[in-house]
């Protein structure tokens, strides 16, 4: 149900951006992982104490437990793993559908004997596939870097689970961008909504982190479904939030394809 020639063309158009994001993700991971050193950790703690607590909280730099995975869950998975792949998905989601419609090149794709559903599914498969590949890459790269820097220090099963949570989060978030891209006929709106919602979520999340009295706001953001401390802590069950993210991803992607197959196209 997908068009392989189109998938190849889409890969060719987007692989450079993809590689740049992999490089940035790796760079941050290695830099942050290298700073894990029980002694340095203490001095980091002292450094943190000099900063306003709201600022630290806002970007989610909380340390759940003084282990390597606890450290990573706080410093890497608290913010960077949300933000960086999110930027990638916003850029790419907009490019793979809305831009073709806005520019008019979609007319050529649809002048071939391929159903709209097939075209949209091809682009959706690319986006979801590249998100999966990105998180898979982070997982493998993370395990290898940790094993090199701190042999046998990383709790690999919990690290994999943490990344699985991140994958579900990004399946859901990229679904928002994809839906916007399939819904709107111009890139202005597609980008506006596709980026607007996730950025709003991120801002709410930062407010939430900074001020506990605002905890009612947690219903305004989908990002609370991904809670690195809870995932590695294993205290509360993360299964409901994992299922929620999965279902939302299915609904968003499915809805996007359905909308695209039925709407009026200005091409």
């Amino acid at each position: 149900m997908i068009s392989l020639p189109l998938l190849r063309a889409t890969i060719k158009q987007n692989y450079k951006v993809f590689i740049i994001f992999l490089a940035v993700l790796t760079l941050y991971f290695v830099v942050i992982a290298q700073m894990f050193e029980p002694s340095v950790y203490e001095s980091m703690d002292q450094l943190m104490q000099t900063l306003p607590i709201q600022l630290i909280d806002a970007v989610g730099l909380k340390i759940a437990e003084p282990s390597l995975i606890g450290y990573l869950a706080g410093y890497y998975y608290g913010f960077l793993i949300v933000l960086l792949p999110l930027i990638y998905s916003i850029i790419v989601a907009n490019r793979i559908v809305a831009k073709h419609v806005d520019k008019g090149s979609m007319a050529y794709l649809l002048s071939t004997p391929n159903k709209r559903v097939k075209i949209a599914m091809t682009q959706g498969v690319f986006l979801l596939g590249s998100m999966t590949l990105m998180i898979l890459f982070v997982t493998v790269m993370g395990i290898i870097s940790c094993e090199i820097i701190y042999p046998k220090e990383l709790d690999i099963p919990r690290f994999v689970l943490l990344n699985f949570g991140a994958l579900l989060l990004h399946s859901m978030l990229s679904g928002i961008g994809f839906l916007a891209s399939c819904f709107f006929n111009d890139t202005k709106n597609s980008l506006g909504f596709g980026a607007g919602f996730p950025i709003f979520f991120l801002l709410v999340q930062m407010l939430l982190n900074a001020n506990e009295r605002l905890s009612n706001l947690r219903y305004l953001t989908l990002l609370t479904l991904f809670n690195p401390e809870a995932i590695i802590g294993g205290t509360a069950s993360v299964l409901p939030s994992f299922i929620a993210m999965f279902l939302l991803a299915v609904i968003l992607y499915g809805g996007a394809v359905l909308i695209f197959s039925r709407k009026d196209l200005s091409i």
Binding site: Q13, G104, S105, A107, S111, R116, D264
Partner: protein, 295 residues
């Protein structure tokens, strides 16, 4: 082959198409004439299944244009009115993608067309001139030997030489029994190739006529330059349909046969004779005026 029945798609008053009905028969070349914004592209978008009609229906080869859009495309060649491609591809890459998405293995026709149109496919599309892009679009529309062709302003951006090659291409398709619908905003572009033409104005069809009939009804304006203003005035008295006299230059209108004008002119010393370029509304004034009364 192409049947449009009571098609309505409104984008506000006089924008879109309203209660449009016409057929294009198998083996016919049909010209679809109208000024910019008259609803030509809206009609074509309906035929391609890009938009849903508010009312009415479009059928190509017995298939519904929206429901069976993908099936119809197998036999259809389409040239979009707006030139927009995948900018970061070369011409070759783009044509390969299109051929693959069609499941087209035989690329002989494609290379024949590239040669015929003298298209250079090596370069990046974003660096191509408007004419080059138009040629690329034409290759795309013709490369799979479709039975039906829908061409939205096919000659825009083409130089006169290429326009004649395009005319030959259409004549060749006609000889092969293909069905063609092409839109244009100038009568000259379609009079050489089309059998029939429909004229659209503000989303409403004002005429569907045989091309010979339209040629006979067309009102042409000739600009005639005389030796001196006196001669010009004398001529203006003799000739019945004078549009304007300014000094030694007279604009004279001819509907149908030009013989009458030539007969009158024979008695004068004529310095220059030119055809004035007119808009479609001027050429088919009576259609446009008539529907004003109808409104």
């Amino acid at each position: 082959m192409i049947e449009i029945t009571n098609l309505t798609k409104s984008y506000g008053p006089n924008k879109g198409v309203f209660d449009l009905s016409f057929n294009v028969n198998q083996g016919e070349v049909f010209g679809y004439l109208g000024p910019n914004g008259a609803g030509k592209t809206t009609t074509i978008r309906n035929l391609l299944g890009f938009i849903h009609p508010d009312k009415g229906s479009c059928v190509i080869d017995g298939l519904d244009c929206h429901k069976d859009a993908a099936t119809i495309q197998k036999k259809l060649g389409y040239l979009p009115g707006e030139i927009a491609f995948f900018d970061d591809m070369t011409g070759d890459e783009f044509l390969r993608l299109m051929a693959q998405m069609r499941g087209l293995k035989d690329t002989k026709r494609q290379s024949d067309l590239i040669n015929l149109l003298t298209l250079d496919t090596k370069g990046y599309i974003r660096k191509m001139s408007k004419g080059m892009k138009q040629k690329l679009g034409l290759v795309c529309a013709f490369m799979h030997n479709p039975d039906i062709l829908i061409l939205d302003e096919p000659t825009s951006g083409l130089d006169p030489l290429m326009q004649s090659i395009f005319v030959e291409l259409i004549m060749e398709q006609k000889a092969l029994g293909k069905t063609v619908l092409m839109s244009s905003h100038s009568f000259e572009e379609i009079e050489r190739t089309c059998d029939r033409a429909g004229i659209i104005r503000e989303g409403r069809l004002v005429a569907v006529e045989n091309i010979q009939t339209l040629k006979a009804e067309r009102r042409k304006i000739y600009q005639i330059t005389f030796q001196n203003p006196e001669e010009a005035k004398l001529f203006a008295k003799d000739y019945e349909d004078v549009v304007e006299v300014s000094g030694q230059i007279v604009d004279a209108a001819v509907s149908g046969e030009v013989g009458k004008l030539i007969k009158v002119l024979a008695t004068f010393d004529v310095v220059g004779l030119d055809v004035v370029n007119q808009s479609l509304e001027d050429v088919f004034m009576h259609y446009y005026n008539r529907s004003d009364i109808d409104d």
